[in-house]
């Protein structure tokens, strides 16, 4: 059962992370990327990267709060998928949109704070993707964990990037920012201790409930066979 569940989670992760790219390629093939396709693909890859980054960041707190241990194994994959979308997003911007015109890109970076902070977020995530292997984990030892804490800053900057990017109505970007900030707060040691205590209470209750329910079921089975 648990093996089946693990396989299911793996399957859902890969399918879920690849679907946005599949849809993008499908729409491209169908010539259905709006009158401004470059803008459409830039926004869509960026949005997917942000969603995946938020989910990646949510896994540890979800485990602390609700004991979803099975998810932990997918964290690395989600992080790598995030990095893939970030890379595609980045190359669409500099290559497709700006045609690798570095003069224009320099101006864009200096004039537009959203671009600068987006680049910073991307650069912070790059070493994390590179060092995601077991080999690097071993080589870096204690520093690996320290290095990978950069995801916190990267995720926050990604939401700033989004907020500065939209025209006027920043409600949706602020929702993303609030979620990311909440996920970061849940990592503060004191909060985390509280959260795991909460999880223990919940799991105890759940176990109690399960025992009672199973007990009732058993008695009802006995009664009916009577």
């Amino acid at each position: 059962m648990t093996r089946l569940r693990r396989k299911g989670i793996q399957f859902a992760t890969h399918v879920g992370a690849l679907t946005p790219m599949g849809l993008l390629l499908f729409d491209w093939y169908q010539n259905d990327l709006t009158a401004n396709p470059i803008q459409a693909v830039t926004l869509r890859t960026g949005k997917t990267a942000l969603v995946l980054l938020t989910i990646t960041l949510a896994i540890t707190p979800l485990n602390t709060l609700f004991g979803f241990k099975q998810l932990i194994s997918m964290r690395k994959w989600l992080g790598l998928y995030t990095a893939c979308y970030v890379a595609v997003h980045f190359f669409i911007f500099i290559g497709l949109d700006y045609g690798f015109d570095f003069g224009l890109l320099k101006d864009a970076l200096l004039e537009k704070r959203f671009a600068l902070v987006g680049l910073a977020a991307g650069l912070l995530l790059l070493p994390l993707a590179i060092t995601s292997t077991r080999g690097w984990q071993r080589r870096l030892g204690k520093n690996w964990k320290r290095l990978h804490r950069f995801i916190y800053l990267g995720a926050f900057l990604a939401t700033v990037h989004y907020t500065w990017l939209v025209k006027s109505d920043i409600r949706v970007p602020l929702i993303y920012m609030a979620i990311v900030v909440l996920l970061l707060i849940l990592r503060i040691p004191q909060v985390r201790t509280l959260a795991s205590r909460f999880q223990q209470i919940v799991s105890k209750r759940m176990a109690h409930f399960r025992v009672r329910r199973d007990g009732q079921r058993r008695t009802s089975v006995l009664e009916s066979s009577d």
Binding site: A35, N36, L104, R171
Partner: protein
Amino acid sequence: MVKIRSSEITPEHVFLSRREFLKSTGLLASGSLLLAACGGVSVPASSTTEDEMQPEASGAVDELGDSANSYVDITNFNNFYEFTTDKTAVVDLVGNFRTSPWQVEVGGLVHNPKVYDIDDLLGFVQEERVYRLRCVEGWSMVIPWNGFPLARLLEDVEPMADAKYVRFETLYDPDQMPGQKSPWYVWPYVEGLRLDEAMHKLTLMATGLYGKTLPAQNGAPIRLVVPWKYGFKSIKSIVKIDLVSEQPTSLWMAAAPNEYGFYANVNPEVPHPRWSQATERRIGELGRRQTLLFNGYADEVAPLYPDMSPSLFF
């Protein structure tokens, strides 16, 4: 099928107003206006009906030699926040938008305030103008509009001496325009021009595009087109025009005063915090183009701004 240039196609409103003409032959004044509207426009030889007409293949070009964007692109990629902020979804929300009956109230500091029926406005001599439209978001299109110079309308109401600005207002009807339920913006949409800008020969009141009645997503039944300013200045679905003495505050000036000024003249030298103003993407093209000062209309409009201070471009 033989290709028909859009300039050879009788615009729908002219075609419709001809019927109106037959109804009102007794009215000499409007009759002569409508006759003028028919002048120079030949009746298409083809029997193609309005609905079958494929206006994509128009062959219209702007004065710089760039081809007009397709009818499909122009009518499926619209910034019209009264419906939605999603440019590709506006077209799906305009189905029930009523553009008739429609009235435009022209008043304020004028000697001859008037309420115009949309049919009165379609009675002004209509002409085709192929203009570049430069959106502040860094994309542009070439659009063959039909309409008449705003100056004609303003002359008709006779502005008073102390009228310095023109203030425009879009219809406010959240039942028809769901985007107006958003509390984020101060509705209705308001825009403004200096009186000399409004009287300029390039400033157009558009009632159609590609020779067809203006589609709702493009600002039906009547909108402003000011080709040397960023697109948001060209207010849509106008119901009210006032001549005023003080500079009006537009919706965008109220929403983000640090980003959108009153003039908003296209200028590649004045950067915007989000979009490239030095370059633009022409819809339908892969690369970027250099953005032109005053969107390429500098020869015509630079004399409006003898003092070229940066605030005029903001």
